[in-house]
């Protein structure tokens, strides 16, 4: 069997249904075999989007996302997508073509050292030199991508190797001596956690993206109810608990709510679940100075990296929460939650200036109109923080944002991937005019594959978050002006995508209804005041 055919058999053995890609000479043999298979190929318009699509797909389905790119620029273009997935621990397998084995190192046409150049932001990578290893490598790659702390794994395959004949059978077992992720939490340590929680007067849970990644949302919610402990969350942990739940406090961090930060800093015990608490989340250790930290994480390297925990436990959130749920007793936290509620200041929804839509109010309004299993995505910048703060996640809604790397242009391709992974669900993307134009070309993918998502374009004709940073620090916003933006409605029309522009708040309700009832993709442009702040 040809190696190229074996590659496709590896993918089918791993139940891959969709592959996002951009073809080229160095992957032509594999493309030929994909065309003869049942795998659906989605042609993106830029390789970076292939990885973002695979990321959205992975997060919507819980499966490993797969993408394929050609050698050289195809491979280098996908790097940002790989780094993005790595920072957010998204399971992904990337196949890249490579120049012929004999040409490697000769600066051949479209040659790039992709294994070398991805090392620092990838979970693992392979350059295939021995065609007989193809089965083992794919088996390992899918195993590594999805287990432990998930992440991207790249397989680089030279073109001549793709054409070789081999005896092929897909291995059933995987055994990597240097990779033995630990899923089961240490029993004794978990008992200590239970004791520690029992003694606490002001406990708080801080949940991150790890809970969704481990598919432990149900177990998490059970833990919250059984323990009766209030919950704050990081940017990535927003959808772990219904935002109207009694225990739900809110988003922490530099862009979070001050009352949520205050709740965290006034707690006596914090239970961190599936979060590394990045620098934007706690701003050093100051928020955690007075509290004792329990840290639950699947990655041993996160224990003690950003802060010290009194009780660390390594393992899969799902398993540890299950164990905790067996032993935890409800605490009387009424006085504590009441105290936190006094931190909350009633926010008055500010009125937008004439000719503008108040983004925060619009996001909140739309959140009440969507189905309770909708998938919400954001790009990066003000659109992201507005959505993270004001969108009310209810019930089984998912909130997919790009946390660690903060990659503008993530939203549109990720939304495409999410919708293809969960076609029965409503998919809504909030994106700014900056990030939208970074992935604008994916409107072509959207149209070609007929993907009915709602794009809410919050257009303030500038790079809003950068403008704000510059204005506050230098009083001189510079290099952020996008006033020559195209007419986005006409642009959508050129792609054959329905759209509408709204600049009057009185039209908002009706515009939302139009977008929601539309059976194809819909671009809803909301004209936003460039002066509208992220937090205020």
């Amino acid at each position: 069997m040809k190696v190229a055919k074996a590659v496709v058999q590896c993918l089918t053995s791993e139940n891959v249904e969709i592959i996002f890609g951009y073809p080229g000479a160095a992957v032509a043999p594999i493309y030929e075999e994909i065309s003869n298979s049942n795998i659906k190929h989605v042609l993106v318009r830029h390789e970076q989007a292939a990885a973002h699509c695979a990321s959205g797909y992975a997060r919507a389905t819980g499966k490993t996302g797969v993408c394929i790119v050609t050698s050289g620029p195809g491979a280098t273009n996908v790097i940002t997508g790989i780094a993005t997935a790595y920072m957010d621990s998204i399971p992904m397998v990337i196949i890249s073509g490579q120049v012929n084995t004999t040409l490697i190192g000769k600066d051949a046409f479209q040659e790039a050292d992709i294994t070398g150049s991805t090392n620092s932001y990838i979970k693992h990578n392979y350059l295939i030199k021995d065609e007989k290893q193809i089965g083992r490598v794919f088996k390992e790659a899918f195993y590594i991508a999805a287990t432990g702390r998930p992440g991207p794994v790249l397989i680089d395959i030279p073109m001549d190797i793709q054409e070789l004949d081999i005896d092929f059978s897909y291995p059933e077992e995987v055994n990597i001596r240097g990779y033995k992720p630990k899923a089961i939490g240490h029993k004794l340590q978990i008992m200590r956690i239970v004791e520690k929680i029992k003694e606490s007067k002001k406990p708080i849970i801080c949940v991150g993206g790890g809970v969704s990644l481990s598919g432990a949302t149900e177990e998490f919610r059970e833990f919250v109810i059984k323990s009766n402990i209030p919950v704050v969350h990081t940017l990535m942990g927003k959808d772990c608990l219904s935002n109207d739940d009694y225990h739900y406090i809110g988003l922490i961090g530099s862009h979070g709510f001050s009352y949520a930060n205050r709740a965290l800093s006034h707690s006596d015990v914090v239970i961190l679940i599936g979060t590394r608490l990045g620098d934007r989340t706690v701003g050093g250790q100051s928020l955690l100075d007075k509290t004792e930290i329990i840290h639950i994480d699947i990655d041993p390297a996160e224990i003690g990296k950003n802060f010290n925990a009194v009780l660390p436990v390594v393992g899969d959130a799902k398993d540890i929460l299950k164990q905790l749920n067996e032993d935890i007793d409800p605490l009387d936290t009424k006085a504590w939650i009441d105290e936190i509620l006094t931190y909350k200041i009633n926010e008055i929804a500010p009125k937008a200036k004439e000719g503008y839509i108040n983004a925060k109010a619009a996001i909140k309004l739309l959140s009440e109109k969507l189905e309770e299993d909708s998938i919400i995505l954001t790009d990066v910048g003000q659109n992201q923080i507005w959505t993270a703060r004001y969108f009310k996640i209810r019930d089984k809604m998912k909130f997919l944002t790009v946390g660690g790397l903060g990659t503008m242009g993530y939203g549109l391709p990720a939304a495409i991937g999410a919708k293809l992974g969960a076609p029965a669900k409503r998919v809504v993307l909030f994106v700014g005019d900056g990030g939208f134009q970074m992935s604008l070309s994916e409107l072509g993918t959207l149209k070609q594959c007929n993907i009915p998502i709602i794009i809410v374009l919050l257009n303030n004709n500038c790079l809003g978050m950068v403008r704000e940073i510059q204005a506050s620090k230098y009083n001189n916003p510079f290099g952020i002006d996008l006033s020559s933006n195209p007419d986005f409605v006409k642009l959508a029309e050129a792609y054959g995508i329905k759209s509408r522009r709204v600049d009057k708040e009185s039209e908002l309700e009706e515009a939302f209804s139009e977008a929601i009832s539309c059976e194809t993709a819909f671009l809803l442009e909301l004209v936003v005041d460039p002066e509208e702040g992220t937090l205020k």
Partner: protein, 161 residues
């Protein structure tokens, strides 16, 4: 800042060394020396890394190295429970100091590998201190060129990594 010595067993495959060394530069850890070679098992290479840092850094280095799929095992060697050796090759100008140089070489149990009318190439094996000491004494004669391998190490006694 303390010095620590890590023995790291890795898969003997191409690209592994760059994954290990890349990790150090990316995370800002300091390598004092790094040596790599094959072991009794052809599939496995052994890297000996000398690093400077505090306890917290060394713990992170350990954990981050462990995350590399190609890293099989890491052992932190303690100074008194392991044997450490380094090799240095030193090309020295002879001039009128032939006898003096030979004398120093003998005292240190080093050896002269090659000698011409003008230069001698000296090989010395030992602990880092011994080699540094030797270099200090021999350098007034005029070192033309020198190379040190960096430390390699093995645990004492019956134990093995």
């Amino acid at each position: 800042m303390n010095r620590y010595i890590l023995s790291v067993l890795v898969e003997n495959r191409s690209g592994v060394l760059s994954k290990v060394s890349g990790l150090f530069s990316r995370r800002g850890y300091n390598i004092d020396s790094l040596t790599v070679g094959v072991t009794e098992n052809l599939d496995v290479s052994r890297i000996t890394i000398v690093v400077s840092g505090d306890e917290a850094i060394i713990e992170q280095i350990n954990k981050q190295l462990n995350k590399l799929v190609d890293v099989i095992k890491i052992v932190q060697l303690s100074m008194d429970e392991a044997i450490y050796r380094e090799i240095a090759l030193i090309k020295i100008r002879i001039g009128k100091n032939r006898t003096n140089i030979i004398e120093v070489v003998n005292v240190f149990r080093a050896s002269i590998i090659e000698m011409t009318r003008d230069i001698a190439i000296i090989e010395i094996t030992g602990t880092e201190d011994k080699i540094s000491n030797f270099i200090e004494i021999i350098s007034p004669y005029g070192i033309k060129e020198m190379v040190r391998t960096g430390l390699t190490a093995l645990e004492k006694g019956n134990k093995s990594i």
